[in-house]
Symmetry: C2
Subunit: 336 residues, 2 copies
């Protein structure tokens, strides 16, 4: 049984979509138990609208909510009874294996480190969303709060990301690349130039060299290593350009009677194709390298993304990802 | 008369498209004179296919070509008779006002600094492409070779970019923003945090604060300031995600008979809409802050982009952009 705590209060569509996603997850896969963390009466009132196995969803009361705009360090320290702090404490105490939240990114990143805690040897826990590509999906590691990272951090990101893609996403011998502004080894900023030879020396990953941003949507690498500022820019721009272009396509189709009729005809096929470019179907972004798993889903998550984020936690637990990360770091430390 | 040197030999479709673009430019606007720089017999043979005013296009012989993969510093130093070096020397000597090339980016960036030379006071000449947005176009400054920039460089980029957008692109009081991973002033990496207050103090620009990558396609700012590594990632990803999505849309439309018929009907309207997201119609990326103008067009430029890049040089010269940059830097130095 994989036990997953879900933040019922965080996100633009909380609590309704968070609760609906939890119910959907329990109803669609066996072997999971969900703790819905939030204001008891609010969560119970939402739950009463659904049909599900009552033995598999438990409400855990948390009287406070951390708002998106609150300074994260302060919020985590002061709001001991918030859904994020209470949910993360369930993971810390081993009562839950994972915590899923669509709430404040900052609070989740801080709470992950401060409450759940890092695996011994992990220098900076990376936030690693899956991004859609032509070939499927790639792991973008790191998009978290670790700006101004050092080369040793990026090397850990490469190892951790490789383990995740291999065992959770079932990609054999995942290709690892570092984001760069040219394909040649001598290209790049100081950080990339220093990190490149270190990655080349890693015998436990399949390092294929640099990847230019242009190649990312083509799925040229399974694990895309970068520091968090660059990762954040990639993630946000990916979403921004995608949304803008799709809205352009839609409005373009509405400009004439002729094109409107055409739009009706292409719509079903187009919807199917564009679905493969929808990040939400892969679930949220795992914050990796913690004593447990924390998954950050989009702030605007609906039930489907919440459900997928919960299901994502099963493979993580069953495949023993954290044990594999520990082994990998241990092996590296012994080598030294 | 604005005199523009064009590299006839650089780019994937050189010399034919470079020559065709130059002819188109001369045929469509008055007041320009073009020097086509390249192997005389090759260029003349291309020119013989076109009709144009022979007094307005002059062939300047250059016996060598710098290949894309050549180490730039070496290439600029050794290949004195290459089209890039010969073309840039025309600018240096004042025989041409501008140089347009689709050749090796590295060689153009190095040549710009070494041959054409920086305006006194400009610390690092930025490469500043125009990127399409929902509202029109924004200037992304810097996408050049200046990785690991310092705050003072970014402040110059903001000033120079603002002058360009106001006087070449005719945007009144252009909004200047710095690329960041959150909207709040305390967010960002060390470079952004140091630069932010300096930009706030600039009285000569309309600084509106941070811009997240997600907002860039919406056209939230006219001048988007960032260091070159981040700028390069933005530019390349913009092109990559755009191309991938458009190919997805096209292939999605071809999946069923029904959608194929629909595709025929939406095609003209869609083409028109997507044209507004086509960067090539704005011409190439100016390398700013030099004693003259150097414009880098895409390696895969066709005649239309070459033509637009040439035309872009007219406003630059007529509006006295370099004089305005000098004034702006002079005013700043006096303040100090």
């Amino acid at each position: 049984m994989v036990k997953i705590a879900v933040d019922a209060m965080g996100g633009d569509y909380a609590p309704s979509e968070m609760v609906a996603g939890a119910v959907d997850a329990v109803n669609s896969v066996p072997g999971i138990h969900v703790f819905l963390v939030g204001k008891e009466e609010v969560v119970n009132s939402q739950l009463s609208r659904h049909t599900y196995d009552k033995g598999r969803i438990e409400v855990v009361n948390a009287g406070e909510v951390i708002a998106t705009e609150e300074p994260p360090v302060n919020a985590i320290r002061k709001k001991k009874d918030s859904s994020i702090v209470v949910g993360m404490n369930l993971v810390k105490k081993g009562q839950a294996d994972a915590f899923v939240s669509a709430g404040s990114s900052g609070a989740i990143l801080v709470g992950g480190q401060v409450i759940v805690g890092r695996i011994k040897g992990v220098e900076r826990p990376p936030l690693a969303p899956l991004i859609p590509t032509e070939k499927g999906v790639s792991l973008l590691i790191d998009c978290g709060a670790n700006v101004d990272a050092r080369p040793s951090h990026l090397v850990q990101f490469a190892r951790i990301g490789s383990i995740y893609m291999e065992h959770v996403m079932k990609v054999k011998n995942p290709k690892v690349a570092i984001v760069n502004i040219g394909a040649e080894e001598e290209k790049g900023n100081a950080l990339v130039k220093e990190t490149f030879p270190l990655l080349k020396e890693c015998m436990d990953i399949n390092f294929i060299g640099s990847i230019e941003a242009r190649e990312i949507p083509h799925g040229g690498a399974d694990v895309i290593v970068c520091e968090a500022f660059v990762g954040n820019v990639i993630l946000k721009l990916y979403e921004g350009v995608g949304a803008t272009l799709i809205s352009k396509v839609k409005s373009g189709m509405m400009t004439s009677m002729r094109s409107k009729i055409g739009a009706l005809l292409v719509k079903p096929a187009l919807k199917e194709t564009l679905k493969s470019f929808d990040a939400s179907r892969y679930g949220g972004a795992p914050l990796l390298g913690l004593n447990g798993l924390v998954v950050k889903t989009h702030g605007n998550s609906k039930a489907n993304e919440v459900k997928n984020s919960i299901i994502q936690c099963i493979a993580f637990k069953e495949q023993g990802i954290n044990e594999k990360i520990k082994e990998s770091l241990g092996a590296v430390n012994q080598e030294k």
